[in-house]
Symmetry: C2
Subunit: 691 residues, 2 copies
């Protein structure tokens, strides 16, 4: 792949130039010059500055043209307005640029124009530009700090991609004391040309990278972003995403009922889940997940069994509570062999059931006996070693023993030594020696569960677009002027083309005529494209038992909705068993999104909904139905029959295809969809299409 080649040169350059290097302490051009030269980077380093001759004792060039060799990567630190010229004159000598300079899209319209020009230049000239307005990048494995953040992190297998330079600095600082290493730290700044998707795609192919952790403040080109993650996860990479602005984003105008259920942040979460990425809930969660990922090398599938070793009953029970309350993990029941061996070797008062209580006076040997048995016990996937520093507890020796045993086993050992000074040395030693220690077992187990629960349900299916129904819809839509949503009759026609079951209806705007064989009891409703919430506005009257009542109600509605174009329809009264609500919206980032959940009067109270992100297959829809908020429909709760999974998933799929095939449709709402668990067919009572 081209991108792989290019970025390899960018992040692993054999030669690097700093255009705008400075000798003045405190200036960014000086910091970067210092950072590049003060670590073990073995490539050629060139300082470029037309006004200087020596910086940090090194020769300074006037431009790249003066340098005898081609440059793999140039870091640009000149003021924003000069960036374009500098790059133009460097293009023959270098293809990869890191623009540290600010003064682009993050400032006013002038900067914005500057950024657009720069972007065009990059495209036309086929060069890579990281930034602008970024911190730079660091590649610890080659001793390269091409940023203005001090220091160089340890070498590791996690690539950090950060939209905030400050956050990258803080992560690196914190990482050092917890022995977290990085394959790369990349600040993406304004992500003009190189954004999250491009970097995920690059690090997916980097064999030194095992985990890609992203801090993002916004996502664009959602489908590309998801595709890059999906491919990376399929290749065995772990993807962790922290996104700011969960609650801050303005919700879009809400036209339809389902719209109010679909906040853009929920859609982002559903999208990550779809492709098997893990979303961090907070900065501390982000750190915890990165730390955990570094130790989580052998994926556990299904639900992980936890075996607990402790020298204090209380913490053991508390940890058991945490396991029981955490999805994705459960307490191991321990093999009978483990129990019988432990019964022989541990004191009589010890508990050999999980959690294994070694008692307060437990010394090294008891911990060793217990840990060895848990390592060999096949019922155990994860071992949690708890320790409280009693006066009799040889804390440091126990840590050493754990370090030795962890080195010999692939089974994950999580330690949690509870205390302060008394456990300090042991904890530091474990951190340095690849034993995972968490102050809080809760944080550790919740991180574990995040990774274990992750399932990729992303499915790229070849969609067969059906031209004749597109033409049919086009014909209806092109006729529509001066309104943004459709009449029930139009919706009915379109729904039928897409095999969506829609309730029978009769147009009684002008009263009953020969063609209208209304059956009683029935419901009558206003039908006007401008009336979207008809129940709330008194646009539904029921029950109607005879012609007299029907005519009276018809007149009431015509008076109540005297707007132009009001029609009145009648529908049969249907038996209600369970009401669902299914909607479609066109998300600016991820495209067609379906939201489906429990309807009826409690829709907003319970918010039992899931989001379905493009691309969708029937299989993926069924997967979400069976495991999501509506799973109770199919699990036979209280001996009830299951609802019709095929029928409901087909309705969702067909609505999805209606959105995919007709880009003028911006939203669709079925509310309610009546579903049954006997032989009755599911039916949409109300159906709205918004353009």
């Amino acid at each position: 792949m081209k991108q792989k080649q290019n970025f390899l040169q960018l992040f692993n350059p054999k030669s690097i130039a700093i255009i705008g290097a400075s000798g003045t302490k405190g200036k960014v051009g000086n910091m970067i010059a210092q950072n590049i030269t003060s670590h073990k980077y073995a490539g050629d380093v060139f300082f470029v500055n037309p006004k200087r001759t020596k910086i940090l004792g090194k020769k300074v060039y006037k431009s790249l043209a003066e340098i005898d060799e081609l440059i793999d990567c140039a870091v640009v630190v000149v003021p924003g307005k000069f960036v374009e010229d500098v790059i133009k004159e460097s293009i023959n000598f270098c293809k990869n640029f890191v623009v540290i300079s600010a003064g682009f899209g993050e400032t006013g319209p002038e900067g914005h124009n500057r950024e657009i020009t720069l972007q065009k230049l990059a495209q036309e000239q086929n060069i890579n530009i990281l930034g602008p307005n970024c911190l730079g990048f660091l590649t610890p494995a080659i001793g390269l700090n091409a940023s203005f953040a001090e220091g160089l992190p340890d070498i590791g297998q996690t690539a950090i991609i950060s939209q905030s330079g400050a956050l990258a600095v803080a992560v690196m600082d914190k990482a050092r004391e917890e022995s977290i290493g990085f394959s790369a730290v990349v600040s993406i700044g304004n992500k003009m040309q190189i954004g999250a998707a491009e970097l995920i795609e690059y690090f997916r192919q980097d064999k030194d990278t095992d985990t890609i952790a992203l801090y993002l403040e916004g996502v664009d080109r959602g489908q590309l972003f998801l595709k890059s993650i999906a491919k990376a996860v399929k290749d065995g990479k772990k993807i962790i995403v922290l996104k700011a602005g969960k609650t801050g984003e303005a919700q879009e105008a809400i036209a339809l009922h389902t719209g109010s259920l679909a906040g853009s942040d929920d859609i982002f979460s559903a999208a990550l889940e779809k492709v098997g990425a893990i979303r961090a809930e907070s900065m501390s969660d982000f750190f915890a997940l990165i730390r955990f990922a570094q130790y989580y090398k052998n994926p556990i599938s299904g639900i992980a069994s936890v075996g607990i070793l402790t020298n204090a009953g209380g913490p053991g029970v508390l940890a058991t509570d945490i396991v029981a309350g955490q999805e994705g993990v459960k307490m191991s029941r321990l093999s009978s062999e483990t129990k019988s061996v432990l019964t022989k070797k541990l004191p009589a008062a010890a508990s050999v059931h999980n959690p294994i209580d070694l008692l307060g006076d437990a010394t090294l040997d008891r911990y060793e006996i217990g840990l060895k048995k848990l390592i060999s016990d096949k019922t155990v996937d994860i071992i949690l070693v708890l320790l409280t520093p009693q006066d009799q507890t040889p804390v440091d020796d126990i840590a050493k023993m754990i370090i030795q045993l962890q080195a010999k086993t692939k089974k994950l050992i999580i330690t949690s030594f509870i205390g302060g000074q008394r456990v300090r040395v042991a904890v530091d030693n474990m951190n340095k020696s690849s034993v995972l220690h968490f102050n809080s077992p809760k944080t550790a187990l919740s991180a574990a569960a995040s990774f274990i629960k992750t399932r990729q349900i992303f499915s790229i299916t070849k969609k067969t677009v059906t031209q004749d129904r597109i033409d049919f819809v086009q014909k209806i839509i092109t006729k529509i002027k001066d309104r943004e949503s459709l009449y029930f009759q139009e919706c009915d026609n379109i729904a039928k083309k897409y095999n969506l079951p829609i309730s029978k209806f009769w147009d009684i705007t002008l009263g009953l005529d020969a063609k209208n064989h209304v059956k009683y009891p029935c419901v009558i409703k206003v039908d006007n494209p401008n009336v979207l919430h008809k129940t709330d506005r008194g646009g539904v009257i029921l029950p109607i038992n005879n012609l007299r009542e029907l005519d009276k109600a018809r007149k009431i509605l015509l008076e109540r909705f005297e707007e132009n174009g009001t029609r009145i329809i009648a529908q049969p009264m249907l038996k209600i068993k369970t009401e669902l609500i299914i909607g479609l919206k066109r998300d600016p980032v991820f495209g067609v999104v379906i939201v489906a959940g429990l309807g009826g009067i409690y829709t907003e109270i319970f918010k039992k909904v899931n989001f379905y992100i493009s691309p969708l297959s029937i299989k993926e829809i069924q997967n979400i139905l069976l495991n999501g908020e509506l799973s109770f429909l199919f699990s036979g709760e209280r001996g009830e029959n299951s609802y019709n999974l095929d029928a409901i998933s087909n309705i969702i799929y067909n609505m999805y295809m209606m959105g995919i095939e007709n880009s003028q449709i911006t939203a669709i709402d079925i509310n309610p969809l009546l579903v049954y668990n006997d032989d009755k067919e599911d039916v949409a009572v109300d159906f709205k299409i918004v353009l």
Copy 2:
């Protein structure tokens, strides 16, 4: 109060004796002797051991009788079987004993008997015994460590009461490095005579104690425990409870539907909420709450407004997300004065809206300007200062400035310096100087919210027990033999006495007679005390439209339930609007507990229930209804009328009184209670009473 007097002598003794002091290193009797003498304790210390003459260079007495003065507190470390004798011979010289010795209730039946004898002795002789099987206690203010845990914590205002010695040790160790101090640390061991309630009552009256933090593995005498907390909270003490065994406890046998909704752990949580205590969810939560309590001196009522100061946009937005997602706190909108001053004093690129972004190159002065404004801004209750260690950031100076400003203001400042080594010194300094620092803003804000949300709804109301209805119920119950639950007719009679609205019914076991004017359509049901889940067992047939259908259905049910005593009843078919489920159970710890929530087919799926703990008043019931899981009934969701709060709260109260007045009743179930938001009266369709 007597207890106060006694415990004062116990925990603040002027003289202390160690009965069983030992000269052998490693023995508990030696550790305690060392601990008592190696700190600044200024009282008289006596070692007692008939077999020794000198320990640690001090004279050893054969018994308390030999000592010239009376002893305030005696720590007993002799083997369990000798404890009783030792206390008996000491009783004339000392009234307060701390029994460290094990070998009591925690072992087999022999130990259990020993404990019962000891308890009797304590009662008869009117002496205090802490333990047995405990770690001892520590009173830092007088330099006293009367335990076998090493060291002495800092002096502070938090009393720790722990049912696990190991946990107390770990808490003290961790506390030291986070500058948490204690007024007392008490290990309660088997809590034979002195348990949580007694100690809460004592520390409530201790002016040096501001927070009481309890680690408990079980609670008995629930009402006494709650009363002690309620009084302490009223006196301004903060109560934090960590309880092990959330999920581990066996659920009691579930006879009734509501029983399955009422796990004992949910009841414990509801009980703590009732009295204004805060429940810690995990050990790390416990630490966080204790730390927070130490700094939270000026209770904030309502919802706390948070003002955020940051030098990096990302962390600011992330913290905003946390505030928005956390009940009990909200983002301050900042006064216009604050905004205009900051606009003048900060660089143009800075954001003067909350979160205030001081920019990456923010130095001391910008932080100081921002912090001073937030301190003076009355729209701000809590200030959160975020910092990422940029190269330009004078981290330590900023910390010093915060320390100075916090000393001058009562407003709570929470700091979160994000990083490792670069923020280490600053964080240590803040910890030492009464500035609250949390690594994770999320933990800090969630702790804050726990304290802010706390409301005591405990109400001791004089219950007027009504003798005539008790006699009425007694008459019915005493007649019942060979069955544990009541016929519908009996329930109906009792319900009417308690003003509980119960659906009309007709006994049609023998078919229709002159007295039975059944109205159609109706429902017919089996009525047999042994059939508790009649719907699940096919004991309900509907609709019944005429005599022929009724007779057919009656025969079907009689065949289906051919058990002895089966009766058949008919009830009118009622319009269903909303179904509730209300039950009563007699909890072994807390007594009569009511569970009330949403009924119908989704009862188990949504679990929208609350627990109502004794003692109850109508006011407290309404408080829970209006703020709990059923609040949507009264909030006019989607323009709906409110349901009848008075009617529903009266039903709960009357059921509660039925339980209080009739101790033979162990459970009651109304399922469903049909409630309406028009003029219809609420009505219980099914009513079960279990003895």
